[in-house]
C-alpha cells in the first residue's frame, strides 16, 4: 500500500524506485526522529538491497522537496522527521534521549518581536530544550524518592502539546 510520504513524492514528481518506496514507508511509519543510520537499519530490514549512500541521498532529496525536515539535537548526526503543518519544537530528555514535541505560539511571537527590535526580519529559528524528567508531585502526598530510570537507549519520541 502506498505510504503517506510516497504519495507526497509522486505529487512532487519524483521517480519512484524500489529504494525510495521503502524509505518513504519507513519514514511514514516512524513516530520518532531517526538518524540516517537508523533509517538505513529499518529500510534494510524491509529490503536488503539498499545502501546507506542511497539513504543519505534520498533523505537529502526529500528535504529539498520539503517532504522531510532535518533536525540537529546535538551528538553530531542529523535526524529527520516528516514535515508537518504547524511549527513545533523539541524537548530532549537528557536522561533517556527521548524527544518530546511541543508548540508555543507565545514564544513564536516573542521571537519575531526580538528580531525586529534588533533590526532583523526573522527568517527561521532553532529552539531546543534539554530537560530532566520531573517526578509528578501529587497534592497531599509526599513525593517518592526518584527512581533511577535508565530509559531506553534508542531515541524515540512522544507527541505532546503544551
Amino acid at each position: 500500500m502506498e505510504s503517506r510520504i510516497e504519495r507526497l513524492c509522486v505529487e512532487r514528481g519524483l521517480k519512484m524506485t524500489g529504494q525510495r518506496r521503502v524509505i518513504a514507508r519507513v519514514l511514514s511509519d516512524a513516530a520518532d526522529h531517526p538518524d540516517v543510520e537508523e533509517l538505513y537499519r529499518r529500510a534494510a530490514a524491509l529490503d536488503s538491497r539498499i545502501s546507506i549512500a542511497t539513504v543519505y541521498r534520498t533523505v537529502r532529496l526529500f528535504e529539498e522537496k520539503g517532504i522531510l525536515e532535518r533536525r540537529d539535537f546535538g551528538g553530531g548526526r542529523a535526524r529527520y522527521e516528516p514535515t508537518e503543518d504547524g511549527h513545533h519544537y523539541h524537548l530532549i530528555d537528557v536522561g533517556s534521549g527521548k524527544v518530546v514535541e511541543f508548540q508555543d505560539a507565545e514564544h513564536e511571537v516573542l521571537m519575531h518581536t526580538v528580531a525586529n527590535r534588533l533590526g532583523f526580519e526573522l527568517v527561521s529559528l532553532r529552539l531546543e530544550l534539554f530537560g530532566r524528567r520531573l517526578e509528578p508531585v501529587q497534592p497531599g502526598r509526599a513525593p517518592r524518592k526518584p527512581r533511577r530510570d535508565a530509559g531506553d537507549p534508542q531515541p524515540s519520541s512522544d507527541r505532546v502539546s503544551a
Copy 2:
C-alpha cells in the same frame, strides 16, 4: 601582560604553556565567535609554534573548565566564546553571517514554564535566530530600495541588548 582568560586558567590550576598563553590571549581579544580554524590562524600569527591539534585540545580543555562555551550556529564547525555572566542568545544575519547577541529574560521564564508543563526540569536550552537585515524605516520618509549588501564573508559580531 596577563590576559583575562589566562587569569582564569591560573585560577583553575592549569599548567600554563606558551601555546595556552597565546590561545588565551587570542580568546581574550576576540569580540566575535571564532571557529577553531580562525583561532588557529590568529594564534599562529602571534606565535607560529602552534599546531591546530593543540588549539583543538585547548579549546576543549577550556570548555571543560567552564572558561569557554562552544556554540553551533550550523555550518558544521564549532565556534567559541568566553563564558559570560548572564545568559545571552544569538541572532545570525543570514546575509553576512554576522552574529548579534541579545538577552531576553521573558523568554527564559517562558521556556522554564513550558518545560515544567511537560513534566521536565529545564537543564539547558539552545536558541538561535536567523534573520535578514531590515531597512530601518524612518517616520515620514519613503523607504529606500534595499541595497544588495554582500556583507563581509568573515564571521564577526556586535554586542547588542534587546
